[in-house]
């Protein structure tokens, strides 16, 4: 088996909170998983789960309390490892007195290109992210979406085998998001490994070979998106019409959802026929019976215990 692109083992991070006698807040607990070479890997979780903390640990912006991590076999303590990764922070800021071209050129100097090759690459990648027109405008005049694109460009300009993106889609309009998705797929086609974090589950479902779900600093599950949601039981959805003057039995009425003259109700697989019988007893007209395909979202909410639970996870300033 080849070396995994990213290998995380027992990674734990505590932050001190408070000034005089600081207490430790555990932001990440015993995180262990790996990312295979050449796959697109999604890192999911609600805000405050520890996703950015994990990525910052990989990049060396913060240091682990315990545990190790390796990228392509090199420890995160090894600076040479940085030559093989591309990183885009969430909400990137850049030197606003530079133009886009100057910024890319600046970052490109840390990879060993000759002058003309560097110039060429900068031009090529500006075009790739659609910023050729604005190449010589100072970054302080850029919109958020444009800055995001600059961020991706500087992350992939030196053609790193492993690309690490922190919330690459955040703040982008649907067009921008589609562009980012295309770039990620393009990278995968060229054999690169992409590791990105997001809380937009539909993107993860669409792009990722595998995902890891993080909540409250702990790993909740790792696997292909399909595998994860398959863990949850299926349910069936019945669409029907109630005749005039008839009402549903109270048990059903609770979970029924009227929509424009029709009613929809979801029931567990096992309870399907019993419910159909009940409806027939009410003279309801059955329109359709279809399986509910669960999404990562459902898995999420189940995990966290509903939307209220999701917000319940503290978001302490990171």
């Amino acid at each position: 088996m080849s070396t995994p692109a990213i290998e995380i083992s027992g990674l734990t991070k505590d932050f001190p909170v408070g000034f005089w006698r600081p207490k430790m807040r555990r932001a990440l607990e015993n995180l262990t998983f790996h990312v295979d070479d050449g796959e697109v890997f999604g890192f999911l979780g609600p805000n405050g789960a520890g996703k950015t903390t994990t990525i910052k640990l990989l990049i060396g912006l913060i240091f682990p309390t315990s545990g190790t991590a390796h990228v392509r076999g090199r420890s995160i303590e090894d600076i040479a490892m940085h030559g093989e990764i591309g990183y885009m922070p969430e909400q990137p800021y850049f030197y606003d007195y530079l133009t886009a071209r100057e910024l890319l050129d600046y970052y490109a100097r840390f990879a060993n290109y000759g002058t003309s090759e560097r110039r060429e690459r900068v031009g090529k990648f500006l075009e790739r992210v659609g910023l050729s027109a604005a190449a010589d405008v100072q970054l302080r005049k850029f919109s958020k979406g444009m800055l995001q694109r600059v961020g991706i460009a500087q992350a992939i300009l030196h053609d790193p085998p492993v690309v690490i993106l922190d919330e690459p889609m955040s703040g982008l309009d649907p067009v921008g998001r589609r562009e980012v998705r295309d770039i990620i797929l393009d990278l995968k086609r060229n054999g690169r490994t992409v590791f990105f974090s997001t809380h937009i589950l539909s993107d993860a479902e669409m792009l990722c070979d595998r995902v890891a779900v993080l909540a409250g600093g702990k790993l909740q599950g790792v696997g292909a998106p399909r595998e994860i949601v398959a863990m949850k039981s299926q349910s069936m959805e019945i669409l029907f019409e109630m005749p005039e003057g008839r009402t549903l039995p109270p048990a059903l009425a609770e979970s029924a959802m009227p929509i424009g003259g029709r009613t929809r109700v979801s029931v567990a697989d096992a309870a399907l026929y019993a419910t159909l019988e009940q409806l027939r007893g009410c003279q309801a007209r059955i329109l359709s019976v279809s399986p509910v395909l669960p999404t990562l979202e459902d898995y999420f909410f189940q995990l966290i215990g509903g939307p209220a639970g999701q917000r319940g996870i503290e978001e302490i300033s990171r």
Partner: protein, 259 residues
């Protein structure tokens, strides 16, 4: 190694230039011209002395203000604005980043001082002086000013690694003033018969950068020759101290968790 430090230095220099910080040069030029014209009216034989003292003091002061003003933000700003994050993901050690920032600011100060020196020379010519060997002390005085600025910049950089700009300014200024008056502090200690005070003032004298060493403005004004031994000693002193501060900065910064 220069592949990483160099770009950081050049970028820092570029930031200073585009930040319009170097516009102080215009102010300095005006000051020098005004002084030269004013002094031309006096003509009691001390024009050169006045221009020398005024010019050198101004070069020192402007340089000092710039060194502190920009220096305290060198690292702090990059952390605050998160511009540092993408940079540290590149194959560059944190200490190389620090040295690059330092070198960039030093370069800015050197360029600034060079232009101001030209302005000073112009003022001299205006009052009828001629360039000659007697000007050597002035150039040496300027060199000492540069050494002083190198030290102050290193101080500001050090504080910038862990403290806000306002506090860093206070600390840097505090140490600078203490350094200027270091010999007096030691004298006071020698005065008292209290051995503890004597020990403390001696410790302060050797710990604090002794800026008093670099003040050659008066000597330059009178055209006194400055012995080469002093030039060597001051240079070595400055280099040692700057290295000390850079090492300390690297130590503080290298394991810092960036928010």
């Amino acid at each position: 190694m220069s592949a990483t430090i160099g770009p950081v230095a050049v970028n820092t220099f570029r930031e200073a230039v585009r930040d319009r910080v170097l516009y102080n040069l215009v102010l300095f030029a005006l000051l020098m011209m005004g002084a030269a014209i004013l002094v031309g009216q006096i003509s009691i034989g001390i024009e050169q002395l006045v221009i020398s003292n005024l010019g050198l003091s101004a070069i020192s002061l402007f340089g000092l203000v710039m060194a502190i003003f920009i220096g305290v933000g060198l690292v702090y700003k990059e952390i605050e604005r998160r511009t540092l994050y993408s940079l540290l993901a590149k194959p560059i050690h944190r200490w190389q980043f620090l040295v690059g920032k330092y070198a960039g600011l030093l370069l800015t100060l050197a360029v600034n001082t060079a232009f101001m020196t030209l302005g000073l020379a112009a003022a001299f010519l205006y009052v009828g002086g001629r360039a000659g060997r007697a000007d050597l002390p002035i150039l040496i005085a300027i060199y000492f000013i540069l050494l002083e600025l190198a030290l102050v910049t290193a101080l500001a950089l050090f504080f910038s690694c862990f403290s806000s700009p306002m506090l860093s300014t206070l600390y840097t200024l505090g140490i600078y003033i203490t350094g200027v008056f270091a010999p007096d502090i030691r004298s006071v200690g020698q005065f008292t018969k209290n051995p503890m005070l004597l020990g403390i003032t001696r410790a302060i004298y050797f710990l604090v950068p002794n800026f008093h060493n670099f003040n050659a403005i008066a000597a330059a004004g009178h055209g006194d020759a400055i012995p080469s031994s002093i030039i060597w000693q001051n240079s070595i002193y400055a280099v040692l101290y700057v290295v000390l501060l850079l090492v300390a900065s690297a130590a503080v910064f290298s394991r810092r968790n960036l928010k």
